[in-house]
């Protein structure tokens, strides 16, 4: 469990916290390799995973290319799918230290999983946990792609192993402590925001290009412009068993 908040041993924690995701990330990388190799070739497929390091963008680009779309369309769809990294970067920024170059290099390590692993609630991020979560994800992603390209077809579609559900459950395990904190004053805003964001994503998915629903869902955070009503009062605390 991720409870060692701000301890000096934060770096092995980031490494350790990301280990359970190695297998599912490799499985998704494998799917990408299997799908991409016939279209892009072995070298380019692996190079893409090694340099772009973003499943969302790579699958978005691949689906456009597969359906006969051009490079420009593929590139814009892929980058649109990655726009969620913009609010992620701004969310992480206040927790960062060091000069612009250091922040640039650390910022480049932001990915869905490392962002969630580094998240400490209340807008704080453990930057070293975030940074140390990245290597496992990177190696698993590129390694998975290599396996997929190298003909892992024989193993079959990795999604049938049920590994894809690892991601939502993992993310939920790191979201719940923020929504229902044990030792902090009660604040309903994170719950409201999470529900609002989920609703926005559900409503926009069928009508907006991939990536846009998640980006717009980030705007649910604007609820924070209003001061939270602390439903504190020791009288209420005992109600939640």
């Amino acid at each position: 469990m991720v409870v060692m908040r701000g301890t000096p041993r934060a770096w092995p924690e980031g490494l350790r916290a990301s280990l359970p995701l190695a297998l599912p990330i490799a499985a998704v990388g494998m799917s990408f390799g299997i799908l991409a190799a016939p279209l892009l070739g072995a070298i380019m497929s692996i190079l893409m995973s090694a340099v772009v390091w973003s499943g969302t963008a790579q699958f978005a680009a691949l689906s456009i290319l597969t359906s006969g779309g051009g490079l420009a369309l593929a590139a814009s769809a892929a980058l649109l799918a990655n726009t969620r990294f913009l609010p992620m970067g701004f969310a992480v920024a206040p927790s960062m230290t060091g000069g612009p170059l250091r922040r640039l290099l650390t910022g480049a390590l932001i990915a869905d999983a490392s962002f969630v692993i580094g998240h400490r609630g209340g807008g704080r991020f453990d930057i070293s946990a975030l940074a140390w979560a990245a290597p496992v994800q990177y190696v698993a992603w590129v390694g998975g792609t290599v396996a997929g390209v190298a003909g892992a077809r024989a193993i079959g579609d990795p999604s049938r192993w049920g590994l894809d559900v690892f991601f939502p459950v993992f993310y939920l395990s790191l979201l719940l402590p923020e929504l229902f904190p044990e030792h902090a004053p009660r604040n309903r805003q994170p719950i409201i925001v999470a529900v609002l964001a989920a609703t926005i994503t559900l409503v926009l998915t069928p009508i907006a290009p991939p990536g846009v629903p998640v980006l717009v869902a980030a705007a649910a955070a604007l609820v924070g412009l209003r001061a939270p009503r602390q439903s504190a009062g020791p009288a209420n605390v005992g109600d939640e068993a």
């Binding site: 973003s54 990655n82 992480v92 805003q189 994170p190 925001v193 994503t201 649910a220």
Partner: protein
């Protein structure tokens, strides 16, 4: 096909999206109201990622084996089962359902 151009554009674009925030706004504490908004960006994004990872295939909304897996995982987490165990339970339910259908 000029695949390498696509690769470079995606790589540079993705790194830009990730690093604009850290470079421009890094290390400084913004005003209180903005701090509250920034603090809520993470739960919003994580919640959205859970929804896309469970209920979508491309632009379609679906309820499939993943929904059952997430439900099992959520109950397990609520009962304070360790996260890794909850993930494995969810994956087993998900895989069993897929083989059964």
């Amino acid at each position: 096909m000029r695949t390498w151009i696509l690769i470079i554009v995606l790589a540079v674009g993705t790194v830009l999206l990730k690093t604009i925030g850290p470079v421009l706004a890094g290390g400084r504490q913004p005003p209180a109201r903005l701090t509250r908004v920034i603090a809520l960006v993470a739960p919003a994004l994580i919640s959205a990622l859970i929804v896309t990872g469970t209920f979508t295939v491309g632009r379609q909304l679906v309820i499939d084996a993943r929904a059952a897996g997430l439900a099992v995982g959520a109950i397990a987490l609520w009962l304070r089962v360790p996260a890794v165990l909850a993930m494995i339970m969810a994956a087993i339910v998900c895989a069993l359902l897929r083989f059964a259908v």
